[in-house]
């Protein structure tokens, strides 16, 4: 083990190229993971911020807020379902927002939510004409007190506070009252007007597990609703499941490439050192000690590569302007990527085990094995 570490210290050049390659692979893993997290965070924040157990939509909507309609009768049946304690209406409209001081064509993308139950981070449902805004809008020059003009009708709303991580499909969340939402929809989206008392979806709080609550609601409405837990609602947003599946497959194949690259590199190193291993075995070193040295070297190289890649990806994250590449680097993503690479390092170096076991100590008598 000590020999392996000493070799790393004394002959770092021997491991340099492999470290560079692994750094690139680690960078790929972190970037791919960050891209996946960024895309999903950007799409699902508004749903994850809901303070309820279940989101209820009309059955025909397939969980799309925009296509869902819940009228007062249906809402009453939801409220009467066993276990339901509180029901809050929710509506959404996606618009461009004019920010004072910005150019006439320089609009911010927003999703205005009208809610009866305030989401996480918003203390109370604001008064009519007021909204809480997602902090991402600060990049567009929005501040507390800014009056935004929404849509072609220039419907005014005043920002009274900021909230984190509430974007919907890449658009900044604005959180207002149902009255604000209704007036903005009526002025800007005639095709989406809903009658008084009608909402697009409901957020339901209740007793028991969210899964049971969802089942109870759908049973109470006779299948007229589609109720999902918050996590399932986020996952049902168009593209989220597909993005997650596809990116995870790409990340999986990239880890497989890391395994092959590490296996290749250490197989070559092992071939180079067969004579040395023969000598070590002849003076009493056990195969497992030699193999452990290889694994340690693989782990050290991977840790160095992962550290460099993490620093680079964090710098990249800081350098990417908001609104371009949606990369979000999180600690869990860094940890999971580094762990995957460490597993790949151990698995890759294990390819050399057979060759180490085959080394004959007697070969030390000659010049090679």
């Amino acid at each position: 083990m000590k020999i392996a570490l000493r070799e790393l210290r004394r002959r770092p050049g021997r491991f340099a190229t492999a470290t560079v390659i692994l750094t690139l692979i680690a960078l790929l893993l972190l970037f791919l993971g960050g891209l996946l997290d960024g895309l999903i965070r950007n799409s699902t924040g508004a749903v994850r911020a809901q303070q309820g157990g279940v989101v209820v939509s009309s059955a025909a909507s397939q969980s799309s807020f925009l296509r869902s309609r819940i009228d007062p009768d249906l809402r009453a049946r939801v409220a009467a379902a066993p276990g339901v304690e509180e029901v809050g209406g929710l509506g959404i409209v996606q618009l461009g927002a004019r920010v004072p001081g910005n150019g006439p064509r320089d609009l911010a993308d927003v999703a205005l939510f009208g809610v009866e139950i305030a989401p996480r981070g918003v203390p109370n449902v604001p008064d009519t004409g007021e909204v809480w805004a997602d902090r991402i809008l600060e990049a567009d020059g929005v501040r507390v007190g800014t009056e935004l003009l929404l849509g072609p009708a220039r419907s005014p709303v005043v920002v009274v506070g900021f909230v984190e991580d509430t974007n919907y499909l890449g658009q900044a969340g604005l959180w207002g009252s149902p009255a604000t939402w209704r007036s903005v929809v009526a002025a800007n989206r005639p095709a989406e007007i809903v009658a008084d008392g009608v909402f697009q979806s409901l957020v339901v709080r209740g007793s028991g597990s969210p899964v049971d609550l969802a089942a109870a609601v759908d049973a109470a409405t006779g299948g007229a609703t589609l109720s999902l837990t918050i996590a399932d609602t986020a996952n049902a947003i168009p593209g989220v499941a597909e993005q997650r599946g596809t990116f995870n497959q790409i990340i999986g194949v990239t880890v497989a490439i890391a395994i092959v690259v590490i296996a290749l590199f250490f197989a070559l190193l092992t071939v180079e050192r067969v004579a040395l291993y023969g000598v070590l075995k002849a003076i009493g070193a056990r195969s497992r000690t030699i193999f452990a040295g290889l694994v340690v070297q693989a782990i050290v190289v991977t840790v160095i590569a992962s550290t460099v890649a993490t620093v680079v990806v964090l710098l990249l994250d800081a350098a990417i302007p908001p609104g371009s590449i949606p990369v979000t680097i999180t600690v869990p993503r860094i940890v999971s990527s580094v762990l995957s690479l460490l597993v790949a390092a151990v698995a890759g170096s294990a390819f050399s085990l057979r060759r180490v076991l085959r080394v004959d100590p007697a070969s030390a008598i000659g010049s090679s094995s």
């Binding site: 190229t17 397939q62 925009l66 296509r67 996606q94 072609p152 989206r189 194949v253 070559l268 990369v327």
Partner: protein, 373 residues
Amino acid sequence: MFLALKEMRRAKVRFTLLMAAVGLLVFLILFQQSLQNGLITAFVGAVRNQSAPVLVYSVDGRRVIQGSVIGPELEAQVRDAVAGGRVGRIGQGTFTVTADDALSEATVLGYEEEGLGSPTTLVTGRLPQGPGEAVASAADEAAGFGVGDVVRIEPGGLEVRVVGLADDIQLNVAPTLFVAYETYLDAVRSRNPDAGTPPPNVLAVEPAPGISAGDTAALINAASDDLDALTRADAAAKTPGVAQVQQSFRVIFLLYGLVVPLVTGLFFLIVTFQKAPSLTLLRAIGAPAGRLVAALLVQVLLVVGGGLAIGIGLYAPLSVQRIGGITLRFETAAVIGWSIALLVLGTASSVVSARRVVAIDPAAALGGTGMDR
């Protein structure tokens, strides 16, 4: 040549591992190339493959058809700006539909006249000629959107019969139906009786004779700060998300593209060091450096070529599949382009090894390895 092949036969595991690594990388690059192109086509195919040379959005629409609303005042300004040209309305919405006895999501895009928003890639059937008819995206034929199939808009039950299929006309990664404008309005009312008669989402413009699409777009934009006129190509390229997807994939391709020559270069550098004594001996008995370098290059080309074969072999069957709503395609241009690029990069990566071979001193056979590390 003989030496190169013989060595590869004797060290099968090493060379196979390298080929497998290159093959997996090639596979990933090509797969992601298909994914990128498929994703963008599924996002904006309907914009790219509709017939209007210019599309006019409201600035508030943020270049999303469904988000744009053109009121009567803006419409009048557009008609004034393109005097001599043709202007047609386009309406678009995403609807829940029953197709093939199952609920699914579909985009309905209504246009008024052929040439002003009609699909241009019809592969079978005909364009809609009356109410309740549609051209559907060919990629969704098997999902209940084939010619003769009836798609029902939910709720409301408005029935639309598919009379034609067109390639690459999806919008928002969903089955897409091109219908007459009146049919679109019926669909909106079917879903939401409170909706009334909504204004068009965008306007389709055919420039006046002698005026280019770009100039027409500039004329319209000059008419009002609330209008956002784009040529067809710009409308597709500037749809929100498209540039982000392309930028993200560009970074990914760059990183994968760097890994291939690095892995190949590292491998041959190590192998060259390992066989330094043999190479020195060969030089000492008269083998010219050029022949040894040629053997090295043959190995590089065989490894990268083998990797390409493995990668393309893995990619080919996957490239004809669908992932979610995205139709993948075998990207011949990408295969050729990446093959050439990786062969060049792979060969270039062996330059360091080749220089080492050239630098071998035959006299060192008398007492050393022939090269210092």
